[in-house]
């Protein structure tokens, strides 16, 4: 089949993937959270199909292709990490501080939180919530893509990288979904369990370890380690 046709199809998939969330999120009759999960998954399916159509599903190592190196660095204390590991930590920290400031202090961030709580009321106050939803998906997509770029350069690039996203779910939930501050300890805990299960268990176990963390945490603190406990519903 002609390659341009495939590219076109992939582009169609990609566009649908980006437009769907903003449109779907307020139409669906279920709770917003479930709609978001389904939309995210749909988006993942679409993007993955698009990527395989264009790039095939071979595993690649982009670093040499880009002509970059990833030399190991020695940290004070003796640990050795790769350059991209350090870069990842730096990017995560910057992103974290930036997002925190944006959501707490900037008017746009406050509007985003407002639209997240009550889209209809936000619209009635002159906020274009669909634009804001699109923006928040773009922000999330940007952060996810950054993670993907760093990971691909540091480890490898293949279409099943999406599994990383599932781990991100686990991190967000362990830390507490409504707590930006909980992300860091959440990530540290999940990562530590994963590393330890590689070291003392088997690699297959390591793959499910984020989910084991999640399952262990949910019955004890369903709202996450640093999340706010859901209030009693008002009646």
């Amino acid at each position: 089949m002609a390659r341009p046709a495939l590219m076109l199809l992939a582009a169609l998939l990609g566009v649908t993937a980006t437009v769907t969330p903003a449109l779907a999120q307020y139409r669906i009759g279920m709770s917003a959270a479930i709609a978001a999960v389904l939309v995210t998954i749909t988006l993942g399916i679409l993007l993955r199909a698009a990527i395989v159509l264009v790039y095939t599903d071979r595993i690649r190592h982009p670093l040499p292709l880009l002509g970059l190196a990833n030399p190991p660095r020695r940290l004070p204390g003796g640990a050795v990490v790769s350059t991209f590991d350090l870069l990842t930590v730096a990017v995560a920290a910057t992103l974290f501080v930036g997002l925190f400031a944006f959501l707490r202090l900037s008017p746009l961030g406050i509007q985003m939180r407002a639209a997240g709580e009550k889209p209809l009321l936000a619209a009635q106050r002159g906020i274009n919530f669909q634009l804001l939803f699109a923006l928040s998906w773009a922000l999330a997509g940007f952060a996810g893509a950054l993670a993907g770029i760093l990971y691909a350069n540091n480890v490898r690039l293949d279409p099943s990288l999406g599994v990383l996203g599932l781990k991100a779910f686990a991190v967000a939930l362990v830390g507490g979904l409504d707590s930006l501050g909980g992300v860091i300890p959440g990530a540290l805990i999940v990562a530590a369990v994963e590393v330890l299960s590689v070291r003392y268990g088997d690699p297959l176990l390591a793959d499910v370890s984020p989910f084991l963390c999640l399952l262990a945490m949910l019955p004890v603190r369903p709202w996450g380690l640093f999340g706010t406990r859901e209030e009693l519903e008002r009646v």
Partner: protein
Amino acid sequence: MIPDLELENLEVVYHHVATAIQGVSLRVPPGAIVALLGTNGAGKTTTLRAISGFLGADDAQIVGGRVLFQGATVTGRPPHELARRGLVLVPERDKVFETLTVQENLRALVPGARVDHDAPRPPVTLEQVFHYFPALAGRRRQLAGYLSGGERQMLALATALLCRPRVLLVDELSLGLAPRVIESLMALVARLRDELGLAVLLVEQNAGAALAVASYGYVMEHGRIVYDGTVERLLAHEDVREFYLGMGRRAGRRSYTEVKQYQRRRRWF
């Protein structure tokens, strides 16, 4: 004079099949408070929502008629655009962002950059808002979810004011509020009309409170306007007195213990 807000034969359908309002026409002149009365399910809230713009989630469509705002057709425009033009709704429920503080509720809207400056509308500042609603000033840092019913209604009015409205649509201002609070809020609406020159469309179950501040009124039943007139004319109408104000044929209020054991009929036409 062009009315600030005018409806021409508006028709709304829910879920593609169920008619909600059929052929509603009404006018809100500049600087006037107009009351829209009616039984439950008559379509009052639907009318307000139709004016201020539906969302896809409502699964409702305007299938006929027009909404005119300051002479321009705005039928079916999205809510945020209408709000920016100065057609602002204070909804019946879900009227404040509960997870935001009072300050954030107000600040989410304050930067005037998004509102066009050339419009002949009164600028509204935070100071002014706190001047009208002194109770909010003391609670700036509190989460809006912790406010009492009266304070919520004040915050809702305040955020609506910050959108610099030309026309304020108020849905059930008195819903679930103490008599004392209703009294002061109604007085405040009249004051806003006088000082900011707003036009107000007041949808109310509490007919007595609404007619005390309004100058003109519409009565809506079964998706239609069945009666309208100046407040004096409404107050003189026997059925309005009986069904909305609870006055007997003789002077004075009828007691609830004297209720009839069957549904009474009314005769609008």
